[in-house]
C-alpha cells in the first residue's frame, strides 16, 4: 500500500507539473481506446437503426430540405469567394500580410466526460490524423473548444463552457476586445474585466479575435445575454450564451491553425 500510495502521489505531482507525462497519458489512452469505442456502440447502433428503418417519405422530404439548404449555402459561398478575392486585392494595396484560409478536418464525438464539473468530450481523431494539442474545434454554429490531450486514434477536447477555459474574443459590431471565461454551465460564459464604460450591449455577437495565436479570428463564440452595471463592483458583469451547440453537436471540425499547425506544415 505504501509503495502504491507513494507512486500515485509521485505520478500526480509529475502529471501536474511536467509536460512529459502527456506521453504516458497518451500511451495509456491507447489502451482504453477500445473501451471508449465500445461505450459509443449503442448510440451508433441506434442512429444506424433510426436511419435504416426510417420511413421512405421522411427520408425523401429530408433530402429535399437538405438540397434546398445546400443551394442557399452555395450561393453564400460564391459571394464569399468574390469577397475574399476583393479582400486579398485590398490588402495587397495596403501592403498588409496575406490571410490564408484554414484547412479543416471532420471528426465525430464518441464520448463525453461523466464528471459534472468538467466539460470534456472525446473525438475520434488522433495523432494519426494530424491532431495536435491546442487545436481549435468548431461545430456548425460556433467555436466549441480546443484539444487538450491527443492519443493515437482519439483526442480529448476542452469545451469553452468549462470553468478552466478562457478565450480572447471581440465584439463583432465595434471590435471591443475581451476575454470570455467558462463558468461550468453550458448556457453561460462570462466576460472578464469589462469596464462600465465599454460599448457592449445585449445581443452583441462575440467572435474570436485571434489574439494569442491559438484560435483563428472571426469565428462566432457567443451572444451577449446580460450586461449589468453594479455600482459596488469595479467591473461590469457581462454574460453571454455560446452559439455552438455544446451539449448537442455530434459532428465537429478541427481547424489547422496556430504555431503547431505551421510547424506541422513545415515538416
Amino acid at each position: 500500500m505504501l509503495v502504491c500510495g507513494v507512486l500515485a502521489l509521485l505520478l500526480m505531482f509529475a502529471d501536474h507539473r511536467y509536460r512529459q507525462m502527456d506521453q504516458v497519458r497518451s500511451g495509456l489512452t491507447l489502451l482504453i481506446t477500445p473501451i471508449q469505442w465500445l461505450v459509443d456502440v449503442p448510440t451508433r447502433v441506434w442512429s444506424w437503426a433510426d436511419a435504416t428503418l426510417s420511413h421512405r417519405d421522411t427520408l425523401l422530404q429530408e433530402n429535399k430540405e437538405l438540397r434546398a439548404q445546400a443551394l442557399i449555402l452555395s450561393r453564400r459561398v460564391q459571394k464569399i469567394a468574390a469577397l475574399t478575392v476583393e479582400n486579398v486585392r485590398l490588402r495587397e494595396l495596403l501592403n498588409a500580410s496575406e490571410k490564408v484560409d484554414e484547412r479543416v478536418l471532420l471528426a465525430e464525438l464518441i464520448g463525453v466526460d461523466p464528471d459534472p464539473f468538467t466539460y470534456h468530450v472525446i473525438i475520434n481523431r488522433g495523432r494519426q490524423h494530424g491532431v495536435f494539442v491546442g487545436q481549435p474545434v468548431l461545430d456548425a454554429t460556433g467555436l466549441m473548444g480546443q484539444v487538450i490531450a491527443v492519443s493515437a486514434y482519439t483526442s480529448r477536447v476542452l469545451l469553452v463552457a468549462d470553468a478552466s477555459h478562457a478565450i480572447p474574443v471581440e465584439v463583432s459590431r465595434n471590435g471591443v476586445r475581451a476575454v470570455a471565461l467558462g463558468t461550468g454551465s453550458v448556457q453561460e460564459l462570462r466576460l472578464a474585466h469589462v469596464s462600465d464604460t465599454t460599448d457592449i450591449r445585449v445581443d452583441d455577437l462575440l467572435v474570436t479575435s485571434g489574439l494569442g495565436g491559438r484560435f483563428p479570428p472571426g469565428y462566432p463564440v457567443a451572444v451577449v445575454t446580460e450586461v449589468r452595471h453594479d455600482p459596488g463592483r469595479p467591473f461590469a458583469i457581462v454574460k453571454a450564451r455560446p452559439t455552438a451547440q455544446l451539449d448537442r453537436s455530434r459532428n465537429v471540425l478541427l481547424v489547422f491553425y496556430g504555431e503547431s499547425a505551421r510547424q506541422e506544415a513545415q515538416d
Binding site: C4, A14, I35, V39, D113, P114, P116
Partner: protein, 162 residues
C-alpha cells in the same frame, strides 16, 4: 493451506472491463451525481471474495485506467482505489460475516472515503469543491451493493473463479 490454482481470472478481468465501461458512459444531467461507483464496487467485491488474487496493485492499475478514461490527474483515482483495496483487504474477514445491510453500511463508508480522497486531490489541484453532493455516489453505491454482491457471487460460483 496452499493457495488454489488460478482459474477463471478472465471473469474478474471482464467484470472490471464492464465496470470501466459503465463509468465511461455519458450521463444525463440529473443522473450525474446518482451514478454508482462501479469500479470501486467491483474492486471491493473481488478483494473480499479473493483477497489472494486481487490486491492493492490491481486497485492501483484500475485507478490509473480510470484516470485516463475520466481525464483526471494521473494517479488521482489510482491513489483512491489502492486505498480502497487496502482497506477492503484489511476488513474482508469481517465483511464476509456481516448481514447484507451491515455490509452496505461498510461499503458506504469505504466508497465515501474513496470519494473524499478523490475530492481532496481535486481541490488541491484547483477544481472547486462540490460540498455535500459527493456523498450521493457512495449512498447509491451502498444501496446497489447487495444486488451486485449476489450477482458477482453467482458469477464467481458459476465459473469457479479462484
Amino acid at each position: 493451506m496452499p493457495a488454489p490454482q488460478p482459474q477463471g481470472l478472465w471473469v474478474i478481468a471482464l467484470s472490471f472491463l464492464l465496470a470501466l465501461m459503465l463509468s465511461a458512459v455519458p450521463l444525463p444531467d440529473w443522473l450525474q451525481w446518482g451514478w454508482p461507483e462501479w469500479v470501486a464496487l467491483c474492486l471491493i467485491y473481488w478483494a473480499i471474495a479473493l483477497p489472494h488474487r486481487v490486491g492493492v496493485g490491481v486497485g492501483f492499475l484500475l485507478g490509473l485506467l480510470l484516470d485516463v478514461i475520466e481525464g483526471t490527474l494521473l494517479g488521482q483515482n489510482a491513489l483512491a482505489l489502492s486505498l480502497l483495496a487496502y482497506l477492503s483487504l484489511n476488513l474482508y474477514q469481517r465483511m464476509r460475516m456481516y448481514p447484507a445491510w451491515q455490509q452496505s453500511l461498510l461499503v458506504f463508508l469505504l466508497v465515501g472515503l474513496h470519494q473524499m480522497v478523490f475530492q481532496w486531490v481535486q481541490s488541491a489541484v484547483g477544481v472547486p469543491a462540490s460540498g455535500a453532493w459527493f456523498l450521493l455516489p457512495p449512498l447509491v453505491s451502498a444501496i446497489l451493493w447487495p444486488w451486485l454482491f449476489v450477482v458477482l457471487r453467482a458469477v464467481r460460483r458459476r465459473f469457479r473463479v479462484t
